[in-house]
Symmetry: C2
DNA sequence: TCGATATTTCCATTATTGTCGAACTATGGA
DNA sequence: TCCATAGTTCGACAATAATGGAAATATCGA
């Protein structure tokens, strides 16, 4: 993931209403939720919600699809995975820590943070 | 991690200069870097950098300690771990997905995202 | 076709964030 | 003590983000 993309995704999640909306969509799963349903859940006026959904969409974190007169939004799990990967790779273990032996889960998947190996440090 | 804390941490990382500063501190490891060193690395005026470091500090992502006439900043790995945990638990698998069998790494550590189990969905 | 419902766009307003020079504070060395 | 260096705070401004009513757009059912 590009830095610019990561900043965009982080910014999209760094807002109460948007984080709540995103979490609701995660709970809803791939089926997603209609915009109005989310507005009801969060008690937010439609115009405001639409603004925030557009923001999440721009960040690639959610996807919209038309379903009759409803617009169903759903979480884009891949993008969140990519964000977690970015944070783990670039913001936890540092770029040279790929084979850090003390860090649990240097295997295929992103996992918990720990400091980079000593030799990587300036 | 509280939602408010998560939003704060996300907001702190959702800015070019701050993300770059944080990444530099991660690379530097527990020893940290002096404020001026970071300002040089990022080519940012001291006043501006100070503003951003304060922001990261407020979010709990970095810690400052005085060392003679220098102020050494270092990454707070625990807080990033907590953030990753929050995102994984609350924003990837949903609250009811603790025992989701399809999701790799439902073990102790946070790991990649995947949708919540079907029975958890509305 | 028409009215009801769902959602977005437009727009004005307010609030928050980012920038950085200049002044201020603190520390160490001469 | 005095000066140089390291950082922070202050203050003013610019830029961006958030809010939500009102109007516009789109779809469905009658």
């Amino acid at each position: 993931m590009e830095i610019k993309t990561a900043v965009g995704a982080l910014a999209a999640l760094a807002q109460d209403t948007r984080l709540a909306a995103y979490r609701a969509l995660v709970q809803a799963g791939p089926g997603g939720l209609a915009a109005g349903r989310i507005a009801d859940l969060l008690a937010v006026p439609p115009a405001t919600l639409s603004f925030h959904l557009k923001e999440l969409d721009r960040a690639g974190l959610i996807t919209a699809r038309q379903d009759g007169r409803y617009v169903l939004y759903s979480a884009n799990f891949d993008q969140m995975n990519a964000l977690l990967g970015f944070l783990t790779e670039n913001c936890c273990r540092g770029p040279d820590a790929a084979a850090h032996p003390d860090c649990p889960g240097t295997a295929a998947l992103p996992t918990a943070c720990c400091p980079p190996p000593v030799e990587a440090q300036a």
